[in-house]
Symmetry: C2
Subunit: 141 residues, 2 copies
């Protein structure tokens, strides 16, 4: 590998980073971050999830989730409730404010997603997604 720019891993990282910055920018108007959006998205789908299940679904370490949930609680978007049946578990629920953000945040992220893949046609996106998925699976172990 002559130049670092020719390194596939480097290229992938830089592309991801640029895309991610775009999401950050738009979401910052709502005072949240991309990863916080993904958590809210799971909760709009189904409330009362365990933090460990959220972590697994998002492929994040359990210890990564804790401070992110803290910030969502602090911003009044979610709340932790003890599971009455198992005292180890915190179930995560949306607040009213968290529920209200569903439509505006989804609209915003739809826009971001569109602008990100602007200039690609349907078929290209499909191939691209397939490649990303295949590449990801390649790394499992």
């Amino acid at each position: 590998m002559e130049k670092i720019e020719d390194c596939f891993c480097f290229l992938l990282g830089k592309t991801f980073h640029k895309v991610s910055q775009k999401g950050k920018e738009r979401l910052s108007n709502f005072g949240i971050t991309p990863v916080q959006f993904t958590i809210l998205h799971l909760l709009w789908e189904k409330e009362g999830q365990k933090s460990i299940d959220i972590a697994k679904r998002l492929h994040l370490d359990g210890s990564t989730i804790t401070p992110i949930l803290d910030r969502l609680v602090q911003n009044g978007l979610i709340e932790r409730r003890h599971d009455p049946k198992d005292r180890r578990i915190n179930l995560i629920y949306l607040t009213e404010k968290g529920k209200e953000l569903e439509t505006p945040l989804n609209n915003t992220m739809d826009e971001v997603n569109h602008s990100v893949i602007e200039g690609f046609d349907e078929e290209e996106i499909k191939v691209f997604k397939k490649m990303l998925t295949k590449l990801g699976l390649n790394q499992e172990n």
Copy 2:
């Protein structure tokens, strides 16, 4: 967007993350991280670079570079030298230890790169890289 997994940004992030973990794992045997490798790589190409030029080349914020260079100095791989012509500037040089790592580290990362794209043929990689580059350029404002 029904499920978060269908979000293109999310998929890209997760794929990058998995790939990046593979690099981390292998490089940890040398006590360095992927971003530290990229900096060393630039220095093997040309010593005595300004930190701001390293940052630009790697698309990193200047303030991100400082602590990474600190750690490389601490691990005895590089050293900062004052530019005699401009006292604002620190020029970054490799130590002997930093130079010695060129071959083993490059070999290691070549292996990682190969294992990452295993199962893809030449043509697919070319298309993939082109798409990543195009997508990246798409984000530049």
